[in-house]
């Protein structure tokens, strides 16, 4: 990074000795399981005359390693049930990981209590998918935007808070005079702007956005996406952007991580991923985007459907649908491996040069 850029970054973040080479967020071998079996008594079963404890889990994330650098937008893509939202929620501390660690700015944060997390919550904020559900219907917009400020800046006086609210409302294109209105008085796009304003109110450096434009209409999607990009430039934000829309990723992302059934199968810079997808699943995913162009290439047809995350397939989780799977794929779990151009791919076929 150039000295000028690092000086800018240091200027923005008032922490001492900011190490710009170090990733802002590190996800190390993250695993998350959700129990399907209820509490202890529900788990007890009679089998063969014996009382045994029977447990079933949804394996939502199975060993995810990701790094997010300062100032970039890391997009996580995948189909429903691949664990991308679980990654986002675990990073934010809304869920605690079953195994693995999350490091923010060099500090481990996944095991902290909510009181200890408070200073981090000011630095990392979240935007949710559905702006109809994420705004409290009983609070006015003014109250909604004041709440995080009161919590994180207990010493601020009324005027300071009011000024800040006005500033963020202005920055997302919501008329500050509308503060007395309630969430239901706004359209979907406006509500999402308010949700973004709430996230920006405490001047975070890192924003987790979980499908922030999926619930919006096409013409509104462009508005909100532009707003997110403007905020990134103006405030030097870092994004973890969760989406299933590959066209958005291509436009917005610095790097992309493709997830399938709780594992990351490919991480690459956006341009590389779209120009040269390596993993068979990434190839299939890219080929199935409906494009406007006339001469569409035939999409790659995958066999079957995504297996259940309750009983994970052995070896590579994709082997059952992969046209290139062999005996090794059925037994051995592939690890992410660095390619010549910095792309990391978890695929035996790519490693062996079969693909």
């Amino acid at each position: 990074m150039s000295t000028q850029a690092s000086a800018m970054a240091a200027n923005h973040i008032p922490a001492e000795n900011v190490d710009t080479a170090q990733p802002l967020l590190q996800i190390r071998d993250l695993k998350k399981r959700f129990s399907l079996s209820g509490d202890f008594l529900d788990q007890l079963r009679f089998k063969g005359g014996k009382l045994i404890r029977h447990q079933e889990h949804v394996h939502a994330i199975n060993g995810v390693n990701l790094e997010i650098n300062r100032g970039e937008a890391l997009c996580v893509v995948g189909e429903s049930g691949c664990g991308k939202s679980t990654v986002a929620r675990t990073v934010m501390g809304l869920l605690s990981p079953s195994e693995g660690e999350i490091h923010y700015d060099g500090q481990r944060i996944d095991h902290l209590s909510s009181r200890q997390l408070l200073p981090y919550r000011k630095r990392m904020q979240m935007i949710f998918q559905n702006p109809y559900a994420s705004l409290n219907p009983r609070m006015t917009i003014q109250q909604t935007l004041e709440e995080p400020l009161r919590l994180h800046h207990p010493k601020w006086n009324r005027q300071q808070i009011a000024d800040k609210v006005e500033e963020v409302m202005d920055s997302v294109g919501i008329n500050p005079d509308w503060g007395k209105r309630f969430g239901h008085e706004f359209s979907g796009g406006q509500r999402q702007r308010i949700a973004i304003a709430r996230a920006l109110a405490v001047d975070p450096e890192f924003i987790v956005a979980d499908e922030p434009i999926s619930a919006l209409d096409v013409s509104i999607q462009a508005q909100v996406l532009n707003l997110l990009m403007e905020a990134q430039h103006a405030r030097n934000l870092t994004y973890l952007f969760i989406t299933h829309d590959l066209a958005v990723v291509e436009h917005f992302g610095t790097r992309v991580a493709v997830m399938y059934l709780g594992t990351v199968c490919e991480v690459a810079t956006t341009a590389t991923l779209f120009a040269k997808p390596r993993h068979p699943y990434t190839q299939a995913l890219l080929s199935s985007i409906p494009r406007l162009e006339d001469d569409r290439p035939q999409h790659i047809r995958l066999k079957g459907e995504v297996p259940t995350p309750v009983n994970l397939p052995s070896g590579c989780v994709f082997h059952g649908r992969c046209p290139y799977a062999n005996a090794r794929c059925i037994q051995e779990i592939p690890q992410l491996q660095m390619q010549d151009d910095g792309t990391r791919v978890a695929c035996h076929a790519v490693e062996e040069g079969r693909l």
Binding site: E79, S80, S187, G188, G189, Q190, D217, V218, S219, I220, Q221, A222, Q223, L225, N226, M229, E230, H244, L246, A247, V248, E250, H251, F252, T270, A271, A284, L285, S287, S288, I289, P290, R291, L292, D294, R296, H299, R301, L302, G304, E305, V306
Partner: protein
């Protein structure tokens, strides 16, 4: 005569606050085996247009004017009894959410047999054989097993295949598909769309595809209608509209897609949002969001605010826009003077 002719359709909802005009003056035709797309954002009236074709508009909604003619029969004035012979039989529907359309307490086989026996005098055994054949056509693995399964035992993609099988059950002339793949993942969406396209071509079935996804429309349909605030604002061959849209709204919609912009650059957005149907702007409903309301000399075109635009021919397409009308008029005058 076209297989299906809709002319000047007008659907309203009588609400306590007053009448809401959900769609106004919608006209289109569908030939046998033709695939037509209806595109628009939420609230544009595309689903209302589709539902009203089979008179499926529930109270307080009603068809206030216009006509729907299918093979010479007027559907909007037909009795329930007569309609029942057409619904599912000659014109069938595919809805967005397959879980909502399938009956959760009946097995797949029972639902398919029930549908067949309601329209044809055949034995259960014959009906089951037809059902099995249709399940094979939609490429469901182990179809015999599926007949005895219940909807909850199947995945979303599988359910939508079943819905397509049911829609094809009585060899209809037209299938109306309302956002058939919106609830599905992209890879499954691509499969289902390819399947639907194949089957429509094979059986020469007409398709009316309602969607907000311009990519899907451009790959599947031959002609398309673009709807905005209850009106059709542009219609014509799909390829021509996608490549060279005339109406400012269609242009904005296509240009707003991330794939139309250079990665990392600002997207071309349409400002504002769709007006509420109960409080429509005067004149052209799009005028508050339109960048072309001003003429080249910087003067606002008053007609945009005062008068609802009619269709003008532009190439093979028709657009309802005063600006396009002016352009076409200029071009005509220029040609005449030469």
């Amino acid at each position: 005569m076209a297989l299906l002719e809709v002319s000047q359709l007008d659907v309203r909802f009588a609400l306590r606050q007053g009448e809401v005009k959900a769609i106004r003056d919608v006209s289109f035709t569908l030939e046998r085996g033709e695939r037509l797309g209806i595109v628009g954002e939420s609230g544009a009236g595309k689903s209302v247009a589709a539902f009203s074709l089979l008179n499926l508009i529930a109270k307080p909604g009603f068809i206030a004017g216009g006509s729907i003619t299918f093979e010479g029969q007027t559907l909007n004035t037909m009795s329930e009894r007569g309609l029942r012979k057409i619904r599912g039989n000659r014109i069938s529907m595919i809805f967005q959410d397959p879980m909502m359309t399938l009956n959760p307490v009946l097995s797949i086989g029972e639902q398919m047999v029930e549908c067949l026996k309601a329209h044809r005098r055949i034995s259960s055994k014959e009906a089951r054989a037809i059902a099995l054949d249709k399940l094979r056509q939609v490429q469901i693995p182990s179809p015999e097993k599926r007949l005895d399964q219940y909807p909850h035992e199947l995945s979303g993609g599988m359910r939508q295949r079943i819905i397509i099988a049911i829609a094809l059950l009585l060899d209809p002339d037209i299938i109306i598909a309302d956002e058939p793949t919106t609830a599905l993942d992209v890879t499954i969406q691509a499969e289902i769309m390819a399947l639907l396209l194949d089957l429509c071509e094979q059986h020469n079935v007409g398709l009316i595809l309602i969607t907000h996804d311009l990519g899907v429309v451009s790959q599947v349909t031959q002609r398309m209608l673009v709807m905005y605030a209850g009106r059709v604002i542009e219609q014509g061959p799909t390829r021509e509209i996608i490549n060279d849209p005339q109406h400012p709204y269609t242009q904005g919609l296509i240009n707003a897609l991330p794939q139309m912009a250079t990665p990392g650059e600002k997207l071309n957005q349409i400002r504002g949002s769709m007006p509420s149907l109960s409080n429509l702007p005067s004149g052209c409903a799009f005028h508050p969001r339109c960048d072309f309301i001003k003429r080249a000399d910087g003067q606002t075109r008053p007609v945009c605010i005062e008068q609802v635009p009619g269709f003008v021919q532009a190439g093979n397409c028709q657009a309802a826009c005063h600006m396009v009308a002016e352009l076409m008029e200029d071009r005509r005058l220029k040609e005449e003077s030469q």
